[in-house]
Structure formats: structure tokens, C-alpha cells
Amino acid sequence: MIDQVEVNQQLMFDGESDEKQFLTFMMHDEEYGMDILAVQEIRGWEPVTTIPNSPNFVRGAMNLRGTIVPIIDLRMRFGINAIEYGPLTVVIVVSVKIKEQQKIMGLVVDAVSDVYSIAEEKAKDVPDFQDSDNAYFVHGLVNVGQKMVVLLNLEKVLDLSDKSGLKG
């Protein structure tokens, strides 16, 4: 609860121009954040149509009001064990520019958490943990109250043609 209060206070001092808002979500008990301006909407999980011969983290394609949107399981993208999708499982629909092309994609995460205003320069670089591929996706680490939030680099997470961050 104390954390919540702090967060709300932070939100109130939103006027600072160098602060950006981040939507955070939970995955494997960790909190991750993404630039809120990239987020289009948040939906509950619905079954999708499998795309044949796609990487395992691509769950399939969904009909988003007439647009075909690929759905990516972020756990699998990061190589975290898959879990059963439950009522809290959500799809965060984001619009990201990948290689000069604006793409709309859906990300399956365990649950959405909160919105924080974070000054970007407060974000710390990822420690150099060489054996982790996932460092590649991370934009920086930031402390919010007692918690640590991992800020993601969505462009890298969603650039499916880029294999450099992938396991195997």
C-alpha cells in the first residue's frame, strides 16, 4: 500500500517535462515497463488463429476490428516457462515502428500492473550479464519505491526478423 501512495504522488508531479509515463505489467513475478505512448489498448486473452511454421513465441493472429494483428507471448519471447492463461492474462496491443514500418502487435503478459512517471535519465543501464540473451531487449532498469522495474525496448522485442536476441 505504501508503494501505491508513493506512486500516486509521483503521478501528481507529472508536470516535469523530462518524465515519461510507463505502463508496467507483471511477468514471472517481475515488473516490466513500456512506453505508454506505444500502447493502443489492453484486452483480455482470446483464442487466436495459429500461424503455421512461426516461432513458438508467436501465438497466432487475431482480428482487431478488421486488422490482422499477430500475438506474441512475451514469456516465450524471453524464454520464460509458459503458464496457463488465466483470467488476469491480458494482451497489450502496441503500435511500434519497426524498420520504418508502423506495426500493430499484441503482447501476452501475466497481468497489467500500473502506470509510473519516470525520468528517463534515472534509468540505469543493464548490468553486463553476458550469459543472458534477454539483456538485449532491455532499455534500462529503474527503481520505483522499493521495486525494480525493467524498461523494455519494444522495437527490439517486436522485431521478429532480428534473431540476435533469441535463444537457439
Partner: protein, 721 residues
């Protein structure tokens, strides 16, 4: 250069290309000697508006070139010059040239001026080399008026407060135009940034070339009111101003004095030229004009280089207002239906309201279908957009081949989706060239065969049950089945022992690497012909066939779906997944007779179907789906054809057939092998559309060697079973 004119470029280019098309079409209608003024006028108008537009936007290379074009056309229009075949050829070439210049400008490239300069020189040669009668006429004219016409160069550079003194330059210009022939050049290099732009200030200055019989006094009178508020220089063209750069700035103080000085020289100039011949003077004027224009050109081209590049990839489409009106009507009806339905929804459900609901839903379905059809119609354009390029092509090609050809166009108003149209154009050009080159005989041969020496090529388009059919007919010698057969045997496409019907032989010309032309010409016959045509048309979900009768002619028939946005699909089930197979590629669907299935090589199964061997592709295997039926006798086989290959796709079940709207999967994802797109089914779920030729490639990749097997099977196929 600070007003962003580039926002109008697209419109200008579009209109200019349309103008060029119109010019081309009219030029082809022109028979030398029998020109009617209306046709010439149309051509003139098109050239004129291109010149005007390009001048406005600073495309000097285009406006300069069209200027000479226009001069020639003007003379023809006024009857001062007789149109010759050479003129028509030259004009046609210049249409191409302008098109090239404009395309280069559109792509923001530096246009290649060599061709336009060469053509311009030829035009100038024609214009300079005036036929005696014309000169005579001109002289008699001038004699009767007892006056000499002189070209004046007038520089008009108003102070910025010109408008505030209540002067309207436009009035002065129209007065100037009344004095004689006026050419106006505007310099807008003084324009400030948009934010600093004051609409009440004048930032432009002008240079005129006025050819008039009037005294210079008459010109300076026009400028009398603005004398104190502007720099005005009036000079007779005669080399006096050659050293000046067009954008050179003169201090205003000296302008009045130089005016006075110039007055004298100008007064002298006509006196001198009176003794000189008309021609000489004209030449002088032209020379100095060219010098000025060259300078303008260099100044402008420097500016053009610094211009920022903008993207012009998006194309636009012109829609008739009637189509838009009918759409608005439809939407109106739809809104009424929606209102009706929501009214029913607000009431308590009773038995009578259910009936009304059903009725409303029927109406809604009706409205939606109408709306869909009408929206599709917006993308439809008459096929004359493709046909219109053929008169030119036939003319040029027949000249090159020394054949006499008449081109008939039938059904030009048949409508077709714009995207299909764009992709149709190349295959059609190929087929028409083929007909001209291989199909039609030389006039001598035709006379020898008792035919009209003028061959006929007919392009015919019509609708037939949701498809558009385009026929390319010639009355030439037809396909030589013997020659095709021997060629096919030589190329190893068929065996010598194979007995083929003439239709089957004709089909062979669509095989890769097949060309019967005795000599490779630059028109056709490189052996990359018909198979590419067929592939391109198949890529549009269409088909191409040939029928031919020796000595009578051949007909190529292209069948295409009206639109690429909608597809007739067969829904099939594979495990828990639903896929769509384009109906057009399905040959048949059947239950497998296990006794006719045999295994070839590395686990490839083939089914003997009548006298063909059909390789069986297990869709669940290719798409890596679990839980599908694997036993051949419990599944269904959908035989599909693509690129002349027949393959059987193993599916669990056949579901409904329906029209599906094609959506891009690539837009937000990436290309998926074996899948051409996606669609949304009635229940809102996404279903993927199978790309047959992609699937064949995919299966070939997964099982190396299987493509060879397919080719081998093709050879066996011809054997009598």
C-alpha cells in the same frame, strides 16, 4: 523558394501524364495532311497546360521543351504550316521525352536532357527553316500593316509596397498581352519563409518577352503608374541584355536613368532592324531568348538540387461523382436500417418483433452487399486505361516490322480493378507484340495467301460471370503446331513418341524456355515469353489460354477475377484449424482410393488419378499441426493446380465455400511461406489463405528432391496410362 509548391506536384504530375496520354491518342488519330483543327487544338491545349504547370513549378527543362513544341503546334493550328508525317513522328517522340522528363522529376532525379535537347534542336530547325510561303505570308502581313514587329524584353521589379499603392500587376499584364504576343516569366526567389510572409507585400518580379508592332512608348505607358514604385526596364531584344543574369539586382536609383538610356537604344533597334530581314531578327531574338532561358535553367536546376526529397509513392484514383452519389445513397439506407433495428432492440421482445427483426436483418444483409459491391466499384476503372497504350505500340512495332496492321479495340468501357489493371498491362503488351511479330504475316505473304494485306489485331474485353475476359485476336498465320512440336521435342519438353492433340501442342508455348521465332528479334522471341505471361496472370489468380487455327489466326484469352480484394474461397479443416483455398485453383476434391496410392522415393506419396499422378501433400505436416487425421481413407484430397503442376492437398474436411475479403498478414507481421494472406470469417476469427505455388515451394524445401520428382512426373504424365 520558400512557399512549398511541392504539395501540388502530385496533382501536376498526374494531370501532365493524363495530358500526355491525350496528346498521344490524338496524335495517333492524325493523318498527315488531313488534320482537323479540333484534334490539333486538343494536342495544343495539352501541351500548353503542361508547359504552364511546369513553368509554375519551376520545371524549366519541361517548360522550355514544351514551349518549342507548342510553337510548332501553334503554327500548324493557325494554318501557317502543313502537318507532315515527320512532324507527327517528332511530336510522338517528344511526348515520350516529356514523359521521361516528368518521371525523372517525379522521382526527384536529375532529368536527362540529352534527348530533349536533341529533339528541341530538331524542332528549332523546323521552326527556323520556314517554308517560303510562310515567310511570304508573314511579310505581306507586315507590309500591309506597314509596321515591323519587335520583341521587347521587359523587366518589371516592383517594390514590396506595390499592392499598398493600389496597383494590380495582373491588369498591367493583360494590357501588355493586348499589345502583342506575350511571354511571362515570374521570379519568385524573393519569397520569404512562410512565417515571415506578408500577403500585402509583393515579393515577385517578372520578365516579359513581348512581340509587338507597337512603339515602345505604348509599353512604358502601361507602367506609367508604377514607375516610381518599381524597377522597370524595357529593351528591344538584340543582345543588349545578354550579359545580365536574370536574377541580378539593380539599384532602383539607376533604373530610371537606365530606362532613359534604353529608350534610345530601343528606338534605334527597330530602325536598324527595319533594314534587316525578318529572319535575321527572329534568329537574333531567338538566340538571346535561348541564352536567357539557359541561364534561368541553370539557376533553377541549382535550386532543384537543394530541394528536399518527398515521397510520392501513394497513388490516387479518380472516381466518377455518380459512384460517390450512389455510395451516399447506400449509406443512407444503411443508417435507416440500423435505426430500425435499434428500435426493435429497445422494445420488449415479442413474437411480432422477432419477425420484424428478421426482416430488418435481411434488409441489413441486402444493404451490406450493395454497399460492398459499390465500394468495389470505386476501384474499378474502364480497361481503356490499359488499351489506350496499344495504338502507339502497334504503330511503332508495325513500322519496325514493316507490317501493315489495323488495331481494333472492343469493350473499352469494361471495368476492372485498378490493381489488377496495373499488373495486367505487361503481360498484355507481351501478347500483343507476339501477335504482331509471330502472328501476322508480312503484306507480301498475306497477299500471296489471298488475305487483306492489312492485318488485324483485335483487343476485346468483356465480363463473364464474375470474371473479366480479355481476348487478343489476330488474323495471322496461327500457331504452327508442327513447328511447336518439333521444337518441344528438341527442347526435351515432350518425347517424340508422345501423341498430343493440337490443343495440347498449343499449350506447350506456355512452357518455360520455349520460343518458336526463327530469329530472335528485339520485339519478341527471347524465349522468356509466354511462361512469364502465364505466371504473371496466374499471380493475379487468372488464367491464359490460346486457341489457334492455322492460316486463320490465333486468339489468346485472359481470364481474370474482377478484383484482388475479394476471393472465392473453399474453407477446409486441418486438425482444429480452418484454412482457405482459392476456389479458382481447385481442380476437384475427392475421397482417396487407397489402392491407387503409391510411394515414390523419400516418402512422397502419389495418387494415380485417371492418367495423371498427383503428389499428395499432407497439409498438417507442412504446417506442423498436431491432431489431424492421418489415415488416407478418412481424409479428403483437394486437387489444386498452379504453375502447371497439379498437387493434392490432404485435408480433414471440406467446409463452406464463400467469398472472403483478403487482408494482409504482412502488414503487421511478416511474409509466411505457403500463406498468401488472411481473412476474417463470419464469427470474427482469422483464417489464413493458402498460397498454392508457395506451398509447392515450401514442400519442396522441406523434402529436397521432391521438386525434381514433380518434374519427372510431368514427363510421365504425357505417357498414355
Amino acid at each position: 523558394m520558400s512557399i512549398d509548391l511541392s504539395q501540388f506536384f502530385d496533382v501536376f504530375f498526374e494531370e501532365s501524364f493524363e495530358g500526355l496520354d491525350a496528346m498521344e491518342a490524338e496524335l495517333l488519330n492524325l493523318e498527315p495532311g488531313t488534320e482537323d483543327s479540333e484534334t490539333i487544338n486538343t494536342i495544343f491545349r495539352a501541351a500548353h497546360s503542361i508547359k504552364g504547370g511546369s513553368g509554375t513549378f519551376g520545371f524549366v527543362s519541361v517548360s522550355d521543351f514544351t514551349h518549342v513544341l507548342e510553337t510548332l503546334l501553334d503554327q500548324i493550328r493557325d494554318g501557317q504550316r502543313v502537318l507532315t508525317a515527320e512532324h507527327v513522328n517528332l511530336l510522338l517522340k517528344s511526348v515520350d521525352c516529356v514523359r521521361g522528363l516528368l518521371s525523372a522529376l517525379q522521382a526527384e532525379e536529375e532529368p536527362d536532357l540529352s534527348e530533349s535537347n536533341e529533339l528541341k534542336a530538331r524542332f528549332e530547325a523546323i521552326l527556323g527553316d520556314e517554308s517560303p510561303e510562310v515567310v511570304e505570308a508573314e511579310q505581306s502581313e507586315t507590309v500591309s500593316e506597314a509596321l515591323q514587329s519587335t520583341t521587347y524584353q521587359i523587366d518589371f521589379k516592383p517594390e514590396s509596397h506595390l499592392f499598398k499603392t493600389g496597383n494590380e500587376p495582373l491588369y498591367m499584364f493583360s494590357e501588355l498581352a493586348e499589345l502583342g504576343e506575350l511571354e511571362v516569366n515570374v521570379f519568385h526567389d524573393g519569397l520569404p519563409e512562410f512565417l515571415e510572409f506578408d500577403p500585402e507585400d509583393c515579393f515577385l518580379h517578372w520578365r516579359f518577352f513581348l512581340t509587338t508592332t507597337r512603339e515602345e512608348q505604348a509599353i512604358s505607358e502601361i507602367f506609367e503608374w508604377v514607375e516610381d514604385d518599381a524597377e522597370i526596364k524595357i529593351e528591344a531584344c538584340g543582345g543588349l541584355f545578354e550579359d545580365e543574369s536574370p536574377s541580378e539586382q539593380q539599384p532602383s536609383a539607376s533604373s530610371t536613368s537606365s530606362d532613359a538610356g534604353n529608350l534610345e537604344t530601343v528606338q534605334q533597334a527597330p530602325a536598324q532592324s527595319e533594314s534587316a530581314t525578318n529572319n535575321e531578327q527572329n534568329k537574333q531574338a531567338e538566340e538571346s531568348l535561348a541564352a536567357v532561358q539557359k541561364k534561368v535553367e541553370s539557376v533553377k536546376s541549382n535550386k532543384a538540387e537543394s530541394r528536399k526529397s518527398t515521397d510520392s509513392a501513394a497513388t490516387s484514383i479518380r472516381v466518377g461523382i455518380d459512384k460517390v452519389d450512389s455510395l451516399i445513397n447506400m449509406v443512407g439506407e444503411l443508417v435507416i436500417t440500423q435505426a430500425m433495428l435499434s428500435q426493435i432492440g429497445d422494445q420488449d421482445i415479442t413474437e411480432s418483433s422477432i419477425a420484424a427483426l428478421q426482416e430488418g436483418l435481411t434488409q441489413l444483409a441486402h444493404n451490406t452487399r450493395d454497399l460492398q459491391e459499390n465500394v468495389m466499384r470505386i476501384r474499378m476503372l474502364p480497361i481503356s486505361f490499359v488499351f489506350s497504350r496499344f495504338p502507339r505500340l502497334v504503330r511503332d512495332t508495325s513500322q519496325k516490322l514493316k507490317k501493315q496492321v489495323e488495331l481494333k479495340l472492343v469493350g473499352e468501357q469494361t471495368e476492372l480493378d485498378k490493381t489488377v489493371m496495373e499488373k495486367l498491362s505487361d503481360p498484355m503488351v507481351h501478347l500483343v507484340r507476339n501477335s504482331l511479330d509471330h502472328g501476322l504475316e508480312t503484306p507480301e505473304d498475306r497477299i500471296a495467301n489471298g488475305k487483306n494485306p492489312v492485318g488485324t489485331v483485335t483487343l476485346n474485353a468483356f465480363h463473364q460471370g464474375g470474371n473479366i475476359v480479355i481476348e487478343i485476336m489476330d488474323d495471322g498465320k496461327g500457331l504452327d503446331t508442327e513447328k511447336i512440336r518439333s521444337k518441344a521435342i528438341a527442347n526435351g519438353l515432350i518425347n517424340e513418341s508422345d501423341e498430343l492433340s493440337s490443343e495440347e501442342i498449343n499449350e506447350l508455348i506456355f512452357m518455360p524456355g520455349f520460343s518458336t521465332a526463327d530469329s530472335v528479334s528485339d520485339i519478341s522471341g527471347r524465349g522468356v515469353g509466354m511462361d512469364v505471361v502465364r505466371r504473371n496472370i496466374q499471380a493475379l489468380n487468372g488464367s491464359v489460354e490460346v486457341t489457334s487455327k492455322q492460316g486463320v489466326g490465333s486468339t489468346f484469352t485472359i481470364r481474370l477475377p474482377l478484383t484482388l480484394a475479394i476471393l472465392d474461397g473453399q474453407l477446409v479443416q486441418v486438425a482444429t484449424h480452418t484454412y482457405i483455398i482459392p476456389l479458382i485453383s481447385i481442380v476437384e476434391s475427392l475421397q482417396i482410393d487407397i489402392t491407387k496410392v503409391s510411394k515414390v522415393g523419400k516418402g512422397l506419396e502419389v495418387l494415380r488419378l485417371r492418367d495423371e499422378y498427383i503428389p499428395i501433400l499432407r497439409l498438417y505436416d507442412i504446417f506442423s499441426h498436431q491432431g489431424a487425421r492421418e489415415e488416407l481413407d478418412k481424409t479428403l484430397l483437394v486437387v489444386v493446380e498452379s504453375d502447371n503442376y497439379k498437387i493434392g492437398l490432404l485435408v480433414d474436411d471440406l467446409l463452406a465455400q464463400q467469398q472472403v475479403v483478403i487482408k494482409s498478414l504482412e502488414a503487421n507481421y511478416q511474409k509466411v511461406d505457403g500463406i498468401s494472406g488472411a481473412t476474417i470469417l463470419g464469427d470474427g476469427t482469422v483464417s489464413l489463405i493458402i498460397d498454392i505455388s508457395g506451398l509447392i515451394k515450401l514442400s519442396g524445401l522441406r523434402r529436397p528432391g521432391s521438386t525434381e520428382l514433380l518434374v519427372d512426373l510431368k514427363g510421365e504424365e504425357a505417357e498414355p496410362a
